[in-house]
Amino acid sequence: MSCKIGRLAAWAAVSALAIVASAQGAGAEPLDLKIGALLESTGPLSELGPPAEKAINLSATVANKAAKDAGVEAKVTIVSADSQGDPQAALSATRTLVDKGASCIMGPSTTPESISVLNGITMQRKITLWPLASSTRLRTVKDDGTIYRPVPADDLQSKALVKAIENHVGKGKAVAIIFRNEPYGDALSKSFTTDWQAEGGTISSTISFDPQQESFDSEAGQAVDTNPDAYVVIDYPETYAKLGAALVRTGKFDAKKVFVADALSFAKVPDNIPPEALEGAYGVAGGSPTGTDAFKAFNKLWDEAGGVANASYTANSFDAAILCFLSAVEAGSTEPGAIRDKIRSVTKDGAPQFTIETLADAVKTAATGKEIDYVGVSGAFRFKDNGDPSSSLYDVFQYQGGKQVKIEQVNVK
Amino acid sequence: MSADAILEVADAVKDFDGLRAVDGASFHVERGSITALIGPNGAGKTTMFDLLSGFARLNTGTIRFAGRSIGGMAPHRIARLGLVRTFQLTRVLAGMSVMDNMLLAAPSQPGEHLPSLILGPRRARAAEARSRADAQALLETFGLRDKARDYAGALSGGQRKLLEIARALMTQPSLVLLDEPMAGVNPTLGRAILDHIAALREQRGTTFLFVEHDMDVVMSRADRVIVMAQGRVISAGTPAQVRADPAVVEAYLGSASPETTA
């Protein structure tokens, strides 16, 4: 009985597919995918906008070239809007993106923006949202499977930091935490404190600083005063340029004791950060295998494109846009719900692997409806049921000569 | 002082920035009188008006109005007691209609307070109707009836002066302080104002204290004259008495007589 029904269903499905296929064939409609970029172009986080914009634009260039090389009629256009770093403006910006036909939305960078955008619009439209916010708070909202995070959540990262410090400084040591007073820093510092203390370590001081400040000398002084064995720095490059300089100016600071969180992970230390503030510093980055061919290819692309310098999370934004594109190709549709349902099919463990260097082949395979495994610039993607990366592998890296050098990989189940 | 004084000022002192504007002035104003306050420029007349109406605070001394001490009282409370003033440079409420200027001055309007406005809108409306009638009548007397709907800012200088006086009278005061009511007003209109003041004094017993430079007006219209110089009261009495006082003549910088300094 059940077998019969199953066969019937299969028939129905096949014929439905045939109808869809013939409809597509009749119109010969190429895939016209619009990816929405929700960028902090103005407002308090406006320094994040330009690199993210460049990363997403690069993804469109790469995707279009791959589609052409693969002979698949698909075109990616980027539509962008300014989230202003503000939940209310982000909501309006997203509405414009939807108005312009976006099927996926890259960004925004903060949890508050992500929550308002999700509750306000993307969930109802089944549009996948790819925020760069890593706060666990984002997981307290019901998202109907529309949130995919290209960055790991804070609770994993704090464990990676604990391991990295244990490996390079030792267990049970005194750590000073310095964080930028924002959801990201606040949440990560809390989970790190819990995890570090659970392993028998002590926190010598926790210093949060307001980013909109003229000087950070007092904060820096407080951090070095306790003479900790290690510093955990949770900060964005813009403020660390100032804070790092202030730390060095205290004369008691040793950058080799620093462990930075993923927002300060870049292939090359940006110009505005004084080299002394990061030389020899350690850091963790989730599933970001530095030194891979894809990583090098991406950095080459970035440099060739000109414009703004590379920054943190650009590879993650880039990969997210590529995933959206591949899912659309796989689904043969730009309908947001259809794309959402295919994301796991293009990041399938065990399926043939592709990177940006073999993206044309990936497109070709995906267009036939076969499962693939896109291994991104920032590593392979294994999404949990809630859309967070399940990978528990973290790179521990060190800045040597201004460049990021991978030291080891830690597993933080 | 006089048993029938509506206003008594004793040893009033006021400093501004180390500058003594009023220096121990004492005088009184009789109920129902028309009294002039005169003196050369810088004598402290306007400061005295500011002190009387609460716009400036005494350093030392006392001011009693209708038996109550009002030194240091806020301007609006003094006004509610029945002592209202006009300003040397007219201060009509330019962005409001002439009628609204008048209605604003109506005393005890329950509609001006949110609780009574919400609880008793009908009473507020009744009070409004009464005030409107009063205002019409006053505007009529001051020749402003046709202007009732105009913005006060559109009035001529003389009309503003009239409106300001009419508005002060609208509060049903017992003592009105007029700071140079004749300045900038054409003589015919000026005479009308003075006639009206005299009539009001007769009808309602309103007291008037006014600052004026035109000595003809002062001498012909005032019952009493108070003379200030350098922050003190140097003379007070009937126009004739004051005119004869040598201290007054000297105060006006040695000029032959007060009249020439108008």
Partner: protein, 308 residues
């Protein structure tokens, strides 16, 4: 431009409209340059959020509590700083709003950096009840429409209330204070008490606006309430018209059509440049309106007293 676009513009225009009714009452009718309105709004919104999430209050009971607290804040700010000269008052009120914002960002009771989330279930229930009903007239697909309807009902009701209030003797005293507070005091009016009432009422309106911001954003976070909100409020106030409540509605709709509409312009510029261009347009627009039509579209030039 789709219907969704207009609904969004409408919601924003309604919320900012309610917010700006308070600014109109202060600046347009009382002559008070209140630049702390965003702070009152934050107090109202956060009170609602905290009472619902932490204390389990009903959303509908929390709203009046939020209004009461905002009014108390208005009275406090007024008593502390109403005696300052007008530009100092403006600076003091901005400083107040910023202190509120920093407190919300750093204190434990407000959720700090993590904000307040999960207070809108009761509103969602209402919204879900309205949607099928809207579906019967073919508008069921627009999930923001219920909020639009409620915001505009509230806005129109409050607008009419403020207009009515302005026509009373109470409103006349406020206008008198705007024109010349000394002359009004000389007529026996307690200027300070009226200014205080004006500020407290504006704070109440800000709290209502904050309530709707909370429903719209679904998440309370301090940056929503930064001084830009107040600046935008003044911009649309002057656009619509000085001393005109109808002008607030017109100004709000036009301002948000302009601000959101510029998002839709297709240019070959980069996203960053296009975002900059939007604000350049707003800036130029503020300069032009102050210069060319200082009283605004529906404002009365006679009511715009020239203040030296």
């Amino acid at each position: 431009m789709s219907i969704d676009f207009w609904i969004n513009v409408g919601v924003l225009a309604g919320i900012y409209g309610i917010f700006t009714l308070g600014l109109q009452l202060n600046a347009g009718f009382t002559g008070l340059l209140n630049f702390g309105q965003a702070g009152f709004m934050a107090i109202g919104a956060y009170t609602v959020g905290i009472l619902v999430v932490d204390r389990g209050w009903s959303l509908w009971l929390a709203l009046p509590a939020g209004i009461v607290l905002a009014v108390l804040a208005g009275l406090f700010v007024g008593i502390a700083s109403l005696r300052l000269r007008s530009d100092h008052f403006a600076i003091a009120t901005i400083a107040f709003a910023e202190i509120v914002r920093y407190t919300l960002q750093n204190a434990a009771f407000s959720g700090g950096n993590q904000g307040v989330l999960g207070f809108d279930a009761e509103w969602r229930a209402v919204s879900d009840w309205m949607l099928p009903w809207l579906a019967t007239i073919g508008l069921g697909a627009y999930t923001q429409l219920p909020l639009f309807i409620v915001v505009w009902l509230a806005f129109v009701a409050l607008l009419l209330m403020m207009k009515g209030l302005q026509a009373t003797p109470w409103g006349r005293v406020l206008r008198g204070i705007r024109e010349d507070e000394d002359a009004t005091a000389a007529l026996g009016k307690d200027v300070f008490a009226y200014k205080l009432q004006s500020l407290a009422l504006a704070a109440a309106l800000a709290a209502v606006a904050g309530f709707f911001v909370a429903l719209n954003v679904t998440y309370l976070y301090p940056t929503v309430f930064d001084p830009t909100f107040t600046f935008f409020g003044y911009a649309l106030l002057v656009l619509g018209g000085f001393a005109s409540y109808g002008g607030v509605a017109l100004g709000s709709v036009l301002f948000w059509t302009l601000l959101e509409g510029t998002r839709l312009i297709e240019t070959s510029l980069s996203a960053g440049q296009q975002a900059s261009l939007r604000f350049i347009i707003v800036g130029v627009f503020l300069l032009l309106i102050s210069r060319l039509r200082p009283q605004g579209l529906l404002g009365n030039v006679n009511e715009m007293r020239v203040r030296p």
